[in-house]
Symmetry: C2
Subunit: 232 residues, 2 copies
């Protein structure tokens, strides 16, 4: 599966009807990657997919987006299953779908924001969502944390490049390399930011960005972060 | 003290003979801010200061840098005391100098990197160096975490702008505002990244940058992070 060609690539996005999942599906479609949105309600996923395909009508060469229940989306996926459910459904979704996820890479977008205060974190006892996901799935199913810091707003603005770099974390170096390769097809830089433990920082960057973006003291919204080399 | 004019401004840098302290003193001097480097060895601080003044000879308008023991440096400071000692001396330095720090703002640069592995963190039980410092000093002496992610190498290259943004954390909004005002005189953007708890993320960004900067997979070294707004 590692050398799965882009023409054959099909990924799942669990919680794909949310804003983050929809934005990601659009970007993947534009990169020629087929997607099945998973949802607890297959009808809603199919309806959302159809709306996204319509939005993509004007973009030549874009791949199709389908909709299904979560288990069906995983079955449709070759290698990558993105997890974009709201954080309060994160653990239960993983626990329920664990058997179906064997042989896949779980790409976790979850950010454990504090309930009622998105400017702060409420990390699980494992330290981060990525670490919790890896504990739930067991070491045989690699979990890769990624795309925490990119706003749904930026993903959905298809005429603009994504305005940030992507920090990728996880305990499997090989799985991270596969995810980085996929994400870079979206036209962004993706960097290996270390093992799952680094997710304690990478997930928390989101709450700092939310704090800045809602602050009246800065002249911007929807900012991301970039790794910035000297002289660039 | 809050409206201390820049002409009268004098800051201390404890651990000022290390690379981070020296780089910061040079940048402050270029911004017209006088500095006293503090060290356990006053002679060494004076010698280092003299070398830095020599280096600044060619920069018109730059302020003087002096050297002293740590207590003397604090006495020379109006408002701001930067703490740039190696992390293994962080707690003892604060405990020993606590009485002298009353009335000052402690600006903590500490990053609790894992001993022997700068690509990982080894956070204190309080969660971060900033939180530990605040616990040691007590709430009456505000601790502000800042400048964790800027490399000594970037600070010392005086002909180039500092290549990153500065994330500033701490429980006192007023103290953070004063520190942001000072740091922005160095020609960088400084942002309020939240309370001391946010230091768990901001300090850890350093280990992720170190990981990237020593990786053979990226074409750069000495990178920093920037907050990146859409369209910029």
């Amino acid at each position: 599966m590692k050398n799965e060609g882009i023409a054959l690539m099909h990924v799942a996005i669990l919680g794909g009807t949310g804003p983050q999942g929809q934005g990601l599906a659009l970007r993947l479609a534009m990169a020629g990657v087929e997607t099945t949105l998973g949802s607890r309600h297959a009808d809603r996923a199919a309806e959302t997919a159809s709306g996204l395909n319509e939005k993509l009508g004007g973009k030549p060469g874009s791949a199709r987006i389908a909709g299904s229940d979560n288990a069906g989306a995983i079955r449709a996926a070759g290698r990558f299953v993105f997890l974009a459910v709201p954080y309060d459904a994160h653990h239960d979704t993983l626990t329920g779908l664990r058997p179906q996820l064997e042989g896949k890479i779980l790409v976790d977008l979850a950010v454990p924001l504090a309930p009622g205060n998105p400017r702060a974190m409420s990390m699980p006892p494992e330290g981060s969502a990525t670490e919790a996901a890896q504990a739930i799935l067991g070491e045989a199913i690699p979990v890769v944390g990624a795309l925490h810091n990119v706003s749904a707003w930026s993903l959905a603005r298809l005429d603009d490049k994504i305005n940030c770099d992507i920090l990728v974390v996880g305990n499997s170096v090989d799985a991270k390399a596969e995810v980085i390769d996929l994400i870079e097809r979206l036209g962004v830089n993706a960097y290996d930011a270390g093992p799952a433990e680094s997710a304690r920082c990478v997930e928390a960057v989101t709450s700092i960005l939310i704090r800045l973006n809602i602050s009246k003291k800065v002249p911007f919204t929807h900012a991301g972060i970039r790794i910035w080399a000297p002289g660039s």
